[in-house]
């Protein structure tokens, strides 16, 4: 009996990702927390470099890339063991990044240097450095991989970069302090959130023209506190969820009409979010309250809030491996 139990225990703990997981960076704790999607509990915490913020998995989820902002590096972690495998040259103060659909090139925003750094994750070398506006932060890449977007917080622009030439081919003005960009509708639209402006601009990617600008209003919340940051579009491309920072709410926006359908109360200073691998749940990182709120995507209601480390920032899903 005992050897069987031991074998069971071993398989339980050593088999990679038995369950769907959400990984969250904790900015102040220098850790990542791993949440089991099924039980909605933290099952693991791993140490990282200083001030981890953006994080993303390789397409096969075999490695996790983490922006360790204050360590001036991008760390590559084995998600099965939590071990840091190696580091990538990232340029100074990497805050956010995006992985090219080729699964090889990382586009990293270097906030202090006003540069977007392109890193080859295989050769672990810098391929290009592109001068962008001051304090670059929001990073997005079109589904076909041809256009990369960097938003610069102080220049208040979205920079459109051609990934073949690594040159900026267009700049579009948005409201103050753009912090996140998301392609939507198979790359036909680009959404850019402006934190201080309190708006989200939607662009037509074909000609970079502005389609609309979305504003927010929550009863009982001062307009200054409405600071849009992270965004996530449902896979059916019908609904955009937008984190409103210190307004402590997630806005639910109808992607067809661009009308705000609802506001969902979450923890304090909500930054970013990601869907569970089956897309039924949305996990938001609430920086100041140090927790993650689970939202049911179908009913658009908050179900539960889970304590993680101090100042959770980024979120990324990892499906159970078969």
């Amino acid at each position: 009996m005992r050897p069987i139990l031991a074998a069971l225990t071993l398989t339980t703990f050593l088999t990679p990702a038995m369950a769907d997981e959400i990984w969250v960076t904790n900015e102040k704790d220098d850790t990542v927390s791993v949440i089991d999607v099924a039980t909605q509990e933290v099952i693991q915490t791993y140490p990282t470099g200083e001030r981890p913020r953006g994080l993303t998995f390789a397409q096969d989820h075999s490695v996790l890339y983490i922006c360790a902002s204050d360590s001036d590096t991008v760390q590559v972690m084995d998600p099965d063991t939590g071990e840091i495998l190696h580091e990538l040259p990232s340029g100074e103060d990497p805050e956010q990044f995006v992985l090219h659909p080729d699964n090889r090139h990382l586009y990293i925003a270097n906030e202090d240097d006003a540069i977007t750094t392109v890193v080859d994750t295989e050769t672990r070398s810098v391929v290009a450095q592109i001068d962008v506006g001051i304090e670059p932060e929001g990073m997005a890449i079109s589904p076909d991989g041809k256009v990369q977007i960097t938003t610069s917080e102080t220049t208040n622009m979205a920079h459109w970069i051609d990934t073949e030439t690594n040159q900026i081919f267009a700049n579009t003005l948005v409201d103050a302090r753009p912090r996140d960009a998301e392609f939507a509708k198979d790359g036909a639209e680009l959404w850019v959130s402006a934190e201080i402006g309190g708006t989200v601009s939607v662009f037509n990617t074909a000609d970079q023209s502005e389609i609309t600008k979305i504003a927010f209003e929550i009863t009982g919340v001062h307009p200054d506190k409405i600071q849009p940051v992270g965004m996530r579009m449902t896979p059916d491309q019908k609904t955009m969820f937008i984190a409103l920072g210190p307004a402590n709410h997630i806005a639910v926006v109808d992607a067809e009409t661009y009308a705000v359908r609802d506001y969902i109360l979450v923890g304090r200073r909500v930054w970013h979010m990601d869907f569970s691998p089956d897309n039924s749940l949305l996990f938001t990182t609430n920086g100041v309250s140090g927790d993650v709120t689970v939202i049911d995507v179908a009913s658009e209601k908050a179900l539960k809030t889970i304590k993680v480390g101090r100042f959770p920032w980024g979120a990324a899903a990892r499906p159970a491996s078969n």
Binding site: L265, V266, K304
Partner: protein
């Protein structure tokens, strides 16, 4: 058999009396709705600071005070019921009832039960409006709270009964009602959770923690989410039994009549 007839008759009389007084019906509905719509609206984000059971995530203030307002309806209704007892006693209807062959505790229980049925109906009318105006409460919870509402309603009704047993004149009762209702309501967990009270003073928190009305509210709050609050349940049952026993002990149907004759 006669017990059942008496209970039904008294309950129906109480319901008919309530329904015929439209003003009373709307007053009972408007009072908590004003709290919900006017008072809670300004605090939408104010309470999203801490997660306390039975809640699993952050809630808006209107969600928090809804069980408290259910309690408020039961509390007002309990007192209103007691007022009608004093009135019945002064008018002689009560003496008629108490001269029936049924035991006095049963008659008082029937009056208490009838009052609670009316109060619970008011709570459901309030909850229906609350759901309609978009307060996010679980619909299944509307079924779960029924036993909690009945128990809390009986406890608060017994308190009213006890007060009516000890107060001789109709005129005095209004003052006493205010003296009881307001401290009970404000010094409870109906409007703010205990941790919020503790921020202003630990003494205030302790008063709130021992207030039976707090336990009635918490019993309703947990029931709304399909959970049982064991301590609240015991306190509500215990207080209800003690208040009712004392009410029966003190009850003197002739008191009001004799005094008004005198």
């Amino acid at each position: 058999m006669s017990y059942r007839i008496a209970l039904t008759a008294i309950t129906l009389r109480e319901l008919r009396r309530f329904l015929s007084q439209r003003g009373r019906f709307f007053a009972a509905l408007v009072r908590p709705l004003v709290w919900l719509v006017v008072f809670a609206a300004g605090f939408r984000a104010a309470l999203g600071l801490s997660i306390i059971p039975p809640y699993q995530t952050y809630i808006t203030y209107e969600v928090y005070i809804t069980p408290g307002l259910c309690g408020m309806i039961l509390l007002f209704a309990g007192m209103q019921n007691a007022l009608s007892l004093v009135y019945d006693r002064e008018m002689g209807t009560m003496r008629l009832l108490l001269s029936s062959p049924l035991p006095r505790p049963f008659i008082l229980f029937a009056k208490l039960f009838a009052g609670t049925v009316v109060a619970v109906a008011q709570v459901y009318a309030f909850l229906a409006v609350a759901v309609l105006i978009g307060v996010d409460i679980p619909l299944a919870g509307l079924v779960f709270i029924l036993p909690a509402l009945i128990l809390s309603g009986m406890m608060l009704g017994s308190l009213g009964l006890l007060l009516s047993a000890t107060i001789s004149r109709l005129e005095n009762f209004a003052g006493v009602m205010n003296f009881v209702i307001f401290p009970m309501f404000f010094l409870s967990t109906a409007l703010y959770p205990l941790w919020k009270m503790a921020e202003s003073s630990p003494l205030l928190r302790d008063i709130c923690a021992v207030n039976p009305f707090s336990h009635a509210v918490e019993l309703i709050r947990f029931a709304l989410y399909g959970q049982i609050a064991p301590v609240a349940l015991l306190v509500v049952l215990g207080c209800g039994a003690v208040f009712f026993a004392l009410a029966v002990f003190f009850y003197d149907p002739r008191r009001g009549l004799q005094r008004s004759k005198a």
